[in-house]
Symmetry: C2
Subunit: 383 residues, 2 copies
């Protein structure tokens, strides 16, 4: 049921010919109310796609009636014609639903720098509008897939209200890879400012800490819409807890389906002077191609971990850092400890534990290894 | 002749068993004077290898009698024992040459986190000291190779004085990849401060702008030694011009032998408000795995170029940027121009031209594509 699990939402997923494969490529998710509160977070890339520019205006008043998402083209760097396509898409949805275009969010994902086929897109909007129902959340999840091998969905229920979500992509929000699009719905009755605060906090410790390949997308968007249809207004703490758990669930699904990856690497940084230091250290390791290639080769090359830490501005002493891989302490105080051949990296899950030994702040960053398949998939992407 | 091309220098390259292949793994280069002025630049990684820590002390007074370099081990994160190995190496060279240990630079390259075999290293120093001559610069160039497929050497002569150099590695200085080691000799008669100023300026526009994979090494060192044996003191401008040309030559050799690369990419950024902006933009593109994988696949994916620029703090308008690849203008003012299939990326050389259209500052960054072979070589490095 995914985004249609919470009461008050309808969805559809259709194929309108944007993908040459003929697979579903347009999703529409509608909030039937009674409330239409919403919040969203966007890529921090300064090069923003047309749907991002549009959606940032729409979300400003915290009221959203519907969100339309297409795969098969990012509509980024497509000039005035491209922006008009985004605008026309929102207008078509608005007309079909008898709402204002300023209440319709738009997301796009796919290749940058190519015009979307506007006629096909508008035909897709018409088809989706005609097939909306409260059961089709999974169809929407499938329609936003690009290189995803499986749809990503999640649901949580608590005390009479629910949250549901769909996601596509293999990366993070700010910065982000390969366009991560997420739509989360809830029938909790919460105003837009409360949704915004909860979404920002949840994204900060979930999608923001997923860094598959360090490449920031032009199209990333995470949207939260609340119908209020449960008639229940949960307290802020309970809502944020469920929302965060759902975001972490979706983030883990994105990680495990990252393009070409053969290992899911959880980088846990402890003993940092402050949380920002822990995040900076974790992200630096997550972006080190040499470390990531070593993990692909099942090689516990902890020297590359220390070399990556050395490029940060975090508080630490290179000769007082401990490193463990999958439970084996390979480095103590910046020197060799257990023999590296005691580390078993043959499984998909890798846990890298770095202790900076200067404080008690922590952060966990999720990443993947750098593989032949990553190179292959991304070299062949636009062909 | 390489580093022994300038008068006043002797060199040797020997095999002492640090490399399991039995290939040459220790180089010694000696300045016979009459002057012993020197300068060096080092990795900016805060995690510095033992030989870097040692050499930074040695170079402080601008006097260097010899430099000893080993492959087969980086001697980084090897604790007190590792530093003692570096110290003992310098002492052994000093004793053989009847100079002070404080006049001997040490460089190491290879795997991080493993102890060097000190007995083999010292035996290598003895062997090298006994085979020094003014013809063996090429032997030294071969002895510092790790994953290099060919030795990198250069020589320049002008007005009665000469410069010679050797290099290993496939990356850049600050930050740097896979340990770049460079030794440059000259028989010009220049004091250490003049050498230092010329070396910093030359490195800034050559090695510092080679960014093969964005990974900063713990062991990078570029050393310049002047014997004064020509008896000629060239003017600063002439010396810097020749030194810069030699550094650019070596940097191009490093780029074209980068691990696993199939394309040499020259990223030329023009129209920047300031040189720092142009460097930041070029480096951001050079580190974008998605762009680099696309080039591997001969795919002129200029959208990934703009996405990379969008992550920088440089002054630009995403919708007023022009991009050309191998002479074809694929993007004008942030929108599509010529069809991407007009771009031919089948050759090894790729020229990416980015015009930010806000000023007249420029910079060129050299990088490589991201290939299956890069992943393979770096996943198998320590095995």
């Amino acid at each position: 049921m995914t985004v249609t699990a919470p009461a008050g939402f309808e969805a559809a997923g259709v194929a309108c010919g944007l993908k040459s494969s003929g697979a579903a490529d347009l999703a529409l998710i509608v909030n039937r109310g009674p409330r239409r509160a919403a919040a969203a977070v966007f890529t921090s890339n300064r090069a923003k796609a047309n749907p991002i520019i549009w959606s940032q205006q729409v979300i400003a008043d915290g009221e959203v009636a519907a969100i339309v998402l297409n795969s098969g083209g990012a509509n980024c760097f497509t000039g005035a014609q491209g922006f008009q396509t985004t605008h026309a898409t929102a207008e078509a949805v608005a007309e079909a639903l008898a709402v204002g275009a300023g209440e319709v969010l738009v997301c796009s994902t796919g290749l940058i720098g190519e015009q979307l086929d506007r006629a096909r897109l508008l035909a897709g909007v018409a088809a989706a509008s005609g097939s909306l129902d409260a059961e089709s959340g999974m169809d929407a999840a499938r329609a936003i897939m690009t290189t995803d091998s499986v749809p990503k969905t999640a649901e949580r229920r608590r005390d009479g209200w629910a949250i549901g979500g769909i996601a596509k992509g293999a990366g993070m929000l700010a910065p982000g890879l390969a366009t991560m699009l997420v739509v989360i719905t809830t029938d909790a009755d919460l105003p837009a400012p409360a949704l915004d605060a909860a979404l920002r906090r949840a994204a900060r410790v979930s999608f923001d800490r997923l860094d598959s390949d360090g490449c920031m997308s032009t199209n990333d968007q995470v949207t939260l819409m609340a119908s209020g249809a449960s008639g229940i207004a949960p307290d802020a703490e309970a809502f944020e807890a469920e929302l965060t758990a759902l975001c972490l669930d979706l983030a883990a699904q994105l990680q495990s389906d990252a393009e070409g990856a053969s290992h899911d690497i959880r980088i846990e940084v402890v003993g940092a002077a402050r949380e920002d230091d822990a995040v900076e250290v974790g992200r630096s390791i997550a972006r080190n191609n040499l470390f990531k290639a070593a993990v692909f080769g099942n090689d516990p090359n902890w020297g590359r971990v220390l070399a990556a830490i050395g490029t940060t501005s975090a508080e630490f002493d290179p000769y007082d850092v401990d490193v463990s891989m999958n439970g084996v302490r390979v480095c103590t105080a910046g020197g060799p400890d257990r023999p590296r051949d005691e580390v078993d990296l043959s499984g998909r899950a890798v846990h890298l534990l770095v202790d900076l030994r200067v404080g008690d702040a922590t952060a966990t960053i999720l990443t993947n290894d750098l593989t032949h398949d990553y190179v292959h998939e991304n070299s062949a992407y636009s062909s």
